[in-house]
């Protein structure tokens, strides 16, 4: 079990708040009300997976992201094409069993290295070297754990070989999206995480909601795509998964 952190100056601080609110301090017994309006649930309500995929594809151009459809049989070829189109390696990926399940292990271990495309699979025991590699990588590849149709967002849970920086440090970011992971919007992802917490499960140390490449409009409100994080992003949707 991890070590518990420290808490300083809490009592006086919270007492001041209670005093200002004109009542005794509340330490228990508060529950969330049943919110009177809940419009978040009406977005894409009743949509099929096909309709959700269409909504996701429609959103992608607005977030400067390419969306490619493929099947599990063709996934390997599609991934190769997309990586080549973005200038090839070095490639960094999560250490994630889904690469094996989707038939990509051979590509990562043999095919690409033979074509002189350097591949680094995240390795917790290698420590900081992972980050050094990711920083020099041209392409970072992860799976999407949950995908949001409305905003065109991939949701990534960190942990167990799933390094945070795989999706941030390389110049190009590629997310592999199983069609079955697409939900209407952030509401469904938040509800899922909330449910896990209610069950007593720990939320991962980092949950990332990523919507396209990094960008900024800080210079004369001109949109510049690719500032600190990736300059380009592609989603590869596997339609039979």
């Amino acid at each position: 079990m991890m070590q518990t952190g420290t808490i300083h100056n809490r009592d006086k601080f919270l007492q001041t708040i209670a005093n200002r609110l004109g009542r005794k301090q509340r330490t228990a017994g508060v529950s969330r009300p049943n919110w009177r309006h809940q419009p978040q649930w009406t977005v894409f309500q009743g949509y099929s997976q096909d309709e959700l995929l269409e909504a996701l594809k429609a959103q992608c151009p607005r977030i400067h992201t390419e969306c490619v459809e493929t099947t599990s049989v063709k996934l390997k070829e599609t991934l190769k094409e997309v990586v080549t189109m973005h200038g090839g390696g070095p490639v960094v990926t999560w250490d994630d069993p889904r690469f094996d399940e989707y038939g990509l292990t051979h590509l990562l271990r043999d095919e690409w290295p033979k074509e002189h495309i350097d591949v680094h699979v995240w390795d917790a025991s290698a420590g900081r070297k992972n980050i050094d590699f990711a920083e020099k990588a041209n392409v970072g590849i992860t799976f999407s754990d949950i995908t949001l149709a409305e905003s065109g967002t991939v949701v990534l849970f960190s942990g167990n070989g799933k390094g945070r920086t795989v999706s941030f440090l390389p110049k190009t970011y590629i997310a592999i999206v199983a069609k079955s992971t697409i939900v209407p919007r952030m509401t469904q992802a938040a509800a899922y995480i909330h449910e896990q917490i209610e069950k007593g499960n720990l939320v991962p140390s980092c949950v990332n909601f990523i919507t396209g490449p990094s960008n900024s409009a800080d210079i004369e409100m001109n949109l510049v795509v690719g500032v600190h994080g990736p300059m380009k992003a592609t989603y590869i949707v596997v339609v039979d998964r």
């Binding site: 991890m2 601080f13 330490t27 969330r32 309006h37 978040q40 917790a124 980092c206 690719g226 500032v227």
Partner: protein, 475 residues
């Protein structure tokens, strides 16, 4: 940068900024673009008023139970191995952070954008402790290298600068050799800042929303800088205003949806990052040590008062982007890091009336701000309440207003003076009148007519017209 910017008084600041043509053009253009994008994003949802009602209800419930949720938050942060420090004042917050920095023997600190660290003037404290502090949000970075030019907008801090000015700053400070193209400028900043992330000892962030149920903090950016600030250095310190909290992930989601649409018209920004404690066992990136500093710094004095709704604010700047006063005078005129309508309400509450008593008067009370607010803060009503407090409780109405009211009181109290005044006004103002407009008015009209015209008084008084009309001879 502390909350207060510069020592010039309000009138001098407005005077300077009204003559800054580039700034006024840039602000007007930005306002239009952001305003349009926000309306489109709201329209796309179809039921925006329901969303606003939900946002308001969540914020009100959370503030009413703030002590409960802060208790829950701190317990959950500690359970995940993070440290929580409750700071009543800016000084307490700064001292705690400085102690962490000294204990870690930190030399280099990278920061992502945070209004509350500006408010408590943290950078000065860290620099005095011998650290190099680097702002990584592109806008903040530009301002920082330009000898700490103050921010003029809470979402787009460098809004007042054009690309040629930014190019010149880059040339002078970074040895930049390329053009003023935003892409080239941004690419240069990317290369420069990459090295800083990788070699920094500590990362400092603000907090858009803390989540009580899990002890998490949520960071909202388009650049992804907050992600590198928190993924690479070994120690992370997050500073939050005590009201920036929600009960669960579900409320975080709703408020983030309101924030990104209202701030920049996006469904979501490129990066919404939810971080919980330090890195988990087996993680390679993410901090080994995590500190959460929860800051009061005057906020509790607002609780339980007529101004409590201002604590509902989620810092989207939608009110700034629709404000006709901000459009003309720009962010620097407010003399505070918080500008526009939100700044005019908040700055006097956090910084006192002595420095900010003019701000509640820098408003036309048109209520565009109230209508734009995604969490339904009655901003223009709060500005009126400020004026009431300033006049009734503080006795600090601006001198010009006192004199004008006194003169009007004298003139209007006696029918003789009133008749005389309204009768002589047209001829008294004739030297200043041109085609029924006054463009260089005397006395109390001077400040108004310096920047716009004032209609000349009608040659025929209402009273005279009415008398004639009764006789059947009026127009």
């Amino acid at each position: 940068m502390p909350m207060k910017i510069g020592n010039a008084n309000f009138r001098e600041r407005v005077e300077t900024n009204l003559h800054n043509t580039f700034m006024r053009g840039a602000v007007a253009g930005a306002q239009e673009r952001l305003h349009t994008r926000r309306l489109e994003a709201a329209e796309e949802l179809g039921n925006w008023e329901e969303w606003r009602a939900l946002g308001e209800e969540i914020r009100q419930h959370t503030l009413e139970n703030l002590d409960y949720y802060l208790m829950q938050l701190s317990e959950n942060v500690a359970k995940r191995g993070g440290h929580v420090f409750f700071a009543q004042t800016a000084e307490e917050a700064n001292n705690y952070i400085r102690d962490v920095v000294i204990r870690k023997k930190a030399k280099k600190i990278v920061k992502s954008k945070s209004m509350v660290t500006e408010e408590i003037n943290l950078n000065a404290v860290l620099e005095a402790a011998g650290c190099e502090v680097i702002e990584t949000d592109l806008g903040e970075y530009i301002l920082q290298i330009d000898d700490h030019d103050p921010p003029s907008h809470i979402v787009a801090p460098a809004l007042h600068k054009n690309k040629e000015q930014i190019r010149d700053v880059f040339r002078e400070k970074l040895g930049y050799k390329q053009t003023e193209k935003p892409e080239e400028l941004a690419l240069h900043a990317r290369k420069t800042l990459r090295r800083e992330y990788l070699t920094a000892d500590i990362g400092i962030t603000g907090c858009n929303f803390a989540i009580a149920e899990s002890g998490s903090i949520t960071l909202v950016t388009n650049e992804g800088n907050a992600d590198l600030v928190t993924a690479l250095p070994k120690t992370q310190i997050t500073v939050m205003g005590m009201e920036r909290i929600v009960p669960t992930f579900e409320e975080m989601e709703v408020l983030v949806s309101l924030l990104t649409r209202s701030a920049v018209g996006q469904k979501l920004t490129s990066y919404i990052t939810v971080l919980t404690g330090p890195r988990d066992e087996g993680d390679v990136d993410g901090p080994e040590e995590f500190h959460l500093v929860i800051v009061d710094n005057g906020r509790s004095n607002i609780l339980g008062t007529e101004f409590q709704p201002i604590l509902q604010c989620i810092r989207c700047a939608a009110c700034v982007n629709v404000c006709p006063v901000y459009r003309h005078i720009g962010g620097h005129s407010y003399g505070s890091i918080y500008s526009g309508p939100i700044g005019a309400v908040l700055s006097p509450l956090l910084g006192g009336y002595d420095d900010y008593k003019e701000l509640p008067y820098a408003s036309s009370l048109c209520a565009a701000c109230t209508e734009a607010c995604p969490v339904k803060i009655p901003l223009h009503e709060l500005l009126l309440k400020h004026r009431q407090v300033i006049v009734e409780r503080e006795g600090k109405a601006p001198i010009s207003e006192k004199l004008a009211m006194k003169a009007f009181g004298l003139g209007a109290a006696s029918s003789f003076f009133y008749k005389l005044g309204s009768k002589v006004a047209p001829s008294a103002l004739t030297p200043f009148t041109n085609d029924d407009r006054i463009s260089k008015g005397p006395g109390p009209l001077k400040a108004w007519t310096e920047i716009r015209e004032f209609p000349a008084p009608n040659k025929e008084r209402f009273r005279d017209w009415f008398r004639e009309h009764q006789k059947g001879g009026g127009k």
